[in-house]
Every structure is written in structure tokens, then in C-alpha cells.
Symmetry: C2
Subunit: 243 residues, 2 copies
């Protein structure tokens, strides 16, 4: 009797594990899922991208903005039409980690994401130059670490994706940004590792791209990606998320 | 001497032909082009997709809207960073062929496109049901034919892409649409053939998709594509355009 229950539990657990496991090669072979999978994009203006903030429903193009969240959503929903996936964008222009912290319950935890993607950090430095912000690299790392710890506690099985903050040397980005911005990138990598998050090394990716076309081709002001830049992020994102 | 000139001309002509020829597999191997290539998307709301009409510049994400023109642009610009491609969206919600005709000089010919993509026809029928429009299938075919003839005369080397108007049987699309809508699709195919345009058979494509997920997954009201539907169009478009 006890063995029978063990056997049933083993089968149920194994089936659940198999339904979650994904091969990177499986993007065009959708498998029916037992429940909708919620994917949430969080961040600043690079994520926001002019989204309609009054449209709260999942998968709405206008609610996703014109950046990588829309590109990812459109492509994944087309490739996986039977999985009931739900994509949300809650990026807000100008945000730093402390701003995410303030709206985290409403804009993240309440949505109960299965996959949470975060791109944050440019303003945590930029606003020191022109908004009187005084946060240090250490502040950024501590705040970001605390935010992800809180999130892991609330949603233990969460798939976390941390996108490296990146800049290109053009437009608004000049010598004043360095070396501190590089230290913040390193901090983001440590935060991701500590939270067992997938880390997308966007600075390396865009440094490579900037050898093919000028920095402003990928990010007009050095910070905000162009349409081409967003496509690069979307491709990296789908690879990292196996979606 | 004459032979030498012939040989040079042959080499130049062959080189030009080779630089234009594109393999469908070549999307990630950009070749430097001698001049910027202008790609223009024309149509109705399915193309418009909430684009910012005050932003006139090429390749601007907000000026491209949240539909297939943005998805195509982002993907192609990322894959072909050295070609100086310029993408414009001039779709306007509610347009029929006569509306395109009225704004054709300003919104199409003046932009001197190298590639012109047109998706038009749903409102030419739909507005008969609820806007008192009285155009026949013959009107649609004649007007559309004249528009493309005028365009070919103005820009002889234009690469033309005609997207088949399509609907899915859900939302606003009921029995009243048939058989006339099917006759209009057939007319669009004839117009495309007459203009030596590539024709993208979107109705067939979406009929196939609707066997995998419900019609409203691809077009919520039967007419306007979802994010998933736009990704399907974008993929078909890139294949047809070899971009």
C-alpha cells in the first residue's frame, strides 16, 4: 500500500518535472501545459518602450510597448500556440532598483509570474549625473539582492532572468560613466548568480555588435536601444529562457 | 577593344546581379549596398497598429506601430546592419483602396520606395456592412490595379509585395462576409499577378494556424491580428521579400 502510494507519487513528480523540462531545440514543438505560464518583464524605459499602461491584460501588443518584450511575446506566442502563455510588461521609464522595490508587490508578486525578467541599473548610475541621486554601487548590489531574495521567498519555483545593464559609447554616454558603470555591471552579475538567475551578458553582446555597425545603430543615445537593438535583446532573451 | 568593353560590361552586370540576388538562407550575412534601400509598408489598421503618425523618420519603433511592420523592421535591421535599410510604415486605420489612392503621392511615391508592401481590402468589404460603402468586387479590383499600374510607372524597378486580405471566422466575421470576401481575395491575387508582385497567401496561412489554436488566438475579432498573428505575418513577409 505504502509502495503503491510511493509509486504514484514518483510518477506524478516525474511527470511534473518532465512537463517543466525544456530543450533549447524545442521552440517550434509546443507541448500542452497543465496551467498558463506567466512571463513578466520588469525594468526601466528600455523595457517600458511606450507601453500603454492602462491596458493591463496579458499579451496585448499595445500593453507590451515597442521594444524587446513585444518582440519576444509575438515570436513565442506564434511558436507555441497551445501553451496558454501570458506575457506582461511592467517596465517603467526612469526606474531604479528602489523604484522597483516600492511597486514590487503590486507590479510583480501579485501577478504570480512563472518567469520573471529584470533589466535594471542604468538609471541607478545615470541619475547620479543629472538627477542628484546618490546611491553607490554597493547600494545597487544590496538593494537588488534583497529584491530578488524577497521574490524567491514569495515564489520559490520562479525562473529568474537578469539582463545585464549595458551602454554604448555614444550620445549621452561619455567618460563620466566609467569605471563606475562597469562596476555596476559586475554587481548585477553577482546578484544574478546569488539568486540562481540566468544572466544575459548584454554588454558583451553589444560590444560585438558595435564592431559591425556604429554604436548608435544599436542604441541611438547610447542607452535606449533602436529597433535593431531590441531585436538583439529579444533573440538573446529567447535563447536564455529556452522559449 | 570591343571585346574588352564587352568583358568589362559583363563583369559589371554580373557583379550587380550578384549583389542584388539574395538567398533565403542569407539573412544573417549582410552585404554592403551601394545605396540605402527604402522599404514601405502600406495598408489599413492591420498595418497601422497604433503607430505614432507625427514621427516621420525611418526605422523609429514608435513610428512603426506594434504590428508586423515593427517585427519585420527590428528583425531585418538586426540581421543586416550594414545595408543602410530604411523602413517606413504609412498604414492608416480604416483605409480602403480609394483612400490609398488619395494619399498615394505624398505617402508612397514621394518616399521613393525600393520595396513596397501593401495589405488592403478588409475595409473595402467591411464598410459595406456598417459604413454604407457601396464598392463592388470589380471596383476593388479595378481601383487596386490602377493604383499599382500608376506605381509601376512612377517607380519601374520597384519590388512589390501584395499581402492577401484575410479574415478568421470569429468576432466581427460572420456569414455575411461570404462568399464576397473570398471573391475579393481572388481579386487581390489577380491584381498582384498583373503587377508582377510577390503575393503572400495569408488566408491559407491563417487557415492552417487556426487548426492549431482557435481563430481568436490569431485575430481577436477575426480581422485584427494578435501579437501572435503579427509574428506569423512578419515571418511570411521576410520569406517573400528575401529579407
Amino acid at each position: 500500500m505504502a509502495n503503491e502510494i510511493d509509486r504514484r507519487q514518483f510518477i506524478a513528480t516525474t511527470a511534473a518535472a518532465l512537463s517543466v523540462a525544456k530543450s533549447p531545440l524545442q521552440t517550434s514543438a509546443p507541448v500542452a501545459s497543465s496551467k498558463p505560464k506567466v512571463v513578466l518583464f520588469q525594468g526601466d524605459s528600455i523595457t517600458d518602450c511606450g507601453r500603454n499602461r492602462t491596458a493591463a491584460e496579458a499579451n496585448s501588443a499595445s500593453a507590451l510597448g515597442t521594444g524587446y518584450p513585444l518582440l519576444v511575446t509575438s515570436g513565442v506566442l506564434a511558436a507555441r500556440p497551445t501553451e496558454g502563455l501570458e506575457f506582461y510588461n511592467r517596465g517603467i521609464s526612469g526606474n531604479k532598483v528602489p523604484d522597483l522595490q516600492q511597486r514590487w508587490t503590486t507590479d510583480t508578486l501579485d501577478l504570480k509570474p512563472d518567469v520573471l525578467s529584470i533589466l535594471i541599473g542604468v538609471n541607478d548610475f545615470w541619475h547620479k549625473l543629472d538627477h542628484g541621486y546618490t546611491g553607490t554601487v554597493r547600494d545597487y548590489e544590496d538593494q537588488y539582492t534583497a529584491l530578488l531574495q524577497q521574490t524567491r521567498q514569495a515564489i520559490p519555483n520562479l525562473q529568474l532572468i537578469v539582463l545585464e545593464p549595458f551602454v554604448l559609447r555614444t550620445g549621452a554616454v561619455d567618460a563620466r560613466w566609467f569605471p563606475e558603470f562597469d562596476e555596476r555591471r559586475a554587481a548585477a552579475a553577482r546578484v544574478a548568480a546569488g539568486a540562481r538567475a540566468a544572466f544575459i551578458p548584454l554588454q558583451t553582446v553589444f560590444n560585438e555588435k558595435a564592431r559591425v555597425a556604429p554604436p548608435q545603430y544599436w542604441a541611438a543615445d547610447g542607452v535606449h536601444p533602436t529597433a535593431a537593438g531590441h531585436a538583439v535583446i529579444a533573440e538573446q532573451w529567447r535563447r536564455a529562457a529556452h522559449l
